[in-house]
Symmetry: C2
Subunit: 119 residues, 2 copies
């Protein structure tokens, strides 16, 4: 569950929602997921570093949302990657439902500030 203190959603919770969604769609490992995020938010200048992605994946795993397994990736050179899959779809759904509320609340908060301070 996100639930971020009282101000806006934290970057990590924001990232976690994307990770869950992308993994639901079949995306699977760290740097690949980072590339997805970069592509999605390039226009916003948002480029969370790889450590933030890994931390998020680790937490989602510890918290029971994801399953992690090590796989040898075929290519020009064999490379070992950590592949993630959804462990508990219902739990993931609940996480996202909470995140949706947090995102909507954030939109409301920012729009109110725009309304109150910029006539």
């Amino acid at each position: 569950m996100p639930r971020e203190g009282t101000f806006l959603i934290k970057q990590k919770a924001f990232i976690k929602v994307y990770l869950l969604s992308q993994i639901e769609k079949g995306r699977s490992y760290g740097l690949q997921l980072q590339d997805d995020l970069y592509a999605a938010f390039r226009s916003f200048g948002l480029e969370p570093n790889h450590s933030e992605i890994y931390r998020s994946l680790h937490e989602l795993t510890e918290e029971g949302y994801l399953t992690r397994r090590k796989v040898r990736k075929e290519g020009a050179k064999y490379q070992e990657i950590a592949v993630y899959t959804i462990k508990d779809p219902e739990k993931a759904k609940a996480y996202k439902a909470q995140a949706k509320m947090d995102l909507e609340r954030g939109v409301g908060l920012l729009q109110k500030a725009l309304h109150d301070n910029f006539w």
Copy 2:
């Protein structure tokens, strides 16, 4: 200038915009400004503590946006308060213009997340 790393606007920058606006309207001291904020955001459950307000006022003063003077407040009991006024209206205007962009960017970011993750 706000300019908050790369994710969303920080709470302190968010508060600073309100402080500038309220002081422009004639509001003047710490706890009074905190009351204004509480009233505005009660429905969002947002209640920044007094230290955050004071920190913001101190920074705005150090950065040249506000002027601070100590005044004896008349009432049931005399009380010394720190009264703030706008020092440089043009500079304040520039701060708010930057904050406006940050707020709008935040709305865009959150709405994109809602769009991308919640079909």
